[in-house]
């Protein structure tokens, strides 16, 4: 009985301190962290500097209901498709964007424009060349405040060609997790998506607009 009681007290205490711990960086950070971080980062070894962030930066993984669409101009008409399989992870602390990270891995073979002939043309060697380049990746090692919300500062790799890309993100709470959404326009020829006759932009535009809505749930980091 006493054991049970002390366990309860102990739990309450730990819970209480955990709560206090959760809150104190949140309230203290805007003042303390920017001053401390630059000084601490070069001096202390990596494990020490990442340790304080681990408590505040939450790890999220992709949940169902996510979509990654693309829109492109095809002989004067805006046409669309989507990648059915992709995986997103986000390390996010809205108070510490510099320590937030975004990673997306897209299975190119899952592309679907609702026309099998066009899908196989897109998968062929002159366009995505899925046989050689099965995935495209986007990795951002930090986020920054953007014009409207947040921007991921990262690199997009398609067909093994890597380019810097800032991706605008609208991040909002959705149930227990987050919803991450936005659009960004890239140029397909920057990544070599369009060899041979497809290098021409007369009938298939260079610009491709990506539209994403990713549902994220909190996961253990």
């Amino acid at each position: 009985m006493t054991n049970y009681f002390s366990a309860l007290v102990l739990t309450a205490l730990i819970g209480g301190t955990a709560c206090a711990d959760d809150k104190s960086p949140a309230t203290a950070k805007p003042v303390a962290k920017p001053a401390a971080a630059p000084a601490a980062a070069p001096a202390s070894p990596a494990p020490a500097s990442s340790a304080p962030a681990a408590g505040a930066v939450a790890h999220y993984v992709q949940a169902t209901g996510s979509s990654l669409g693309f829109t492109f101009e095809q002989v004067g008409a805006q046409s669309n498709g989507a990648f059915k399989q992709f995986a997103t992870t986000l390390d996010y602390d809205e108070k510490n964007l510099a320590a937030s990270k975004l990673s997306v891995k897209v299975q190119i073979g899952s592309l679907d424009t609702q026309d099998k002939d066009r899908d196989s043309t897109l998968a062929s060697a002159d366009l995505f060349d899925v046989q050689k380049y099965a995935t495209a990746t986007y990795t951002a090692a930090s986020l920054v405040k953007g014009a409207n919300g947040v921007e991921a500062v990262g690199k997009l790799t398609i067909r093994n060609v890597t380019k810097d890309l800032r991706v605008p993100l609208t991040i909002k709470a959705a149930g227990a997790g987050l919803e991450l959404s936005g659009t960004v326009t890239i140029k397909r020829l920057d990544y070599g998506v369009g060899q041979g006759e497809w290098k021409s932009t007369e009938s298939v535009g260079d610009a491709v607009k990506l539209t994403y809505k990713v549902m994220l749930t909190k996961a253990a980091s």
Binding site: S79, Q114, S200
Partner: protein
Amino acid sequence: MNFRNTTRAWGALSKTLHWLIVLLIITQWLIARHADDLPNGLAKLQTLAWHKSIGITVLMFAILRLVWRWANPVPSLDGLAKPWERMLASLSHVLLYALIFAMPLTGWMMSSARNFPVSWFKLFQLPDLVAPSDQTFHQMHDLHHLLFKVLMVVALLHVLGAAKHHIVDRNDVLKRMLPFVK
């Protein structure tokens, strides 16, 4: 030649629309045959884009023709055709009008069903008529081809009727639709 129709003669606009649609339909048939021979690729995409743009043009002319027909007198066949000939002529005319609407519309639906939205000569994009669906695409594809065969048969009947008026009856029914003829 009058711009508008009279009860005895076709006006300039009616004649122009009639012959323009004839030329465009022949062009459409040639483009479609050419596209069928092409492998999937840029050339086929471009060729079919022409087919779609011209098809939508036919639809526009069809609307204009129908409006113009309502707003104008139709030259009479009084004394120029027997009752059974008039019935056959009316039937073929109704079918031809229906077909110059149905051909572009089924083609447009084919495009929508395949998630290839239609642009009119890259100037503007048309809304999709149906949701993307393999089944709808195949139905519309078969219908588009069937309607073309019907069009060929009815157009042949139309030409034979005009030829009969000209050669057998020796009247002005054919001549009054010819361009550059009063």
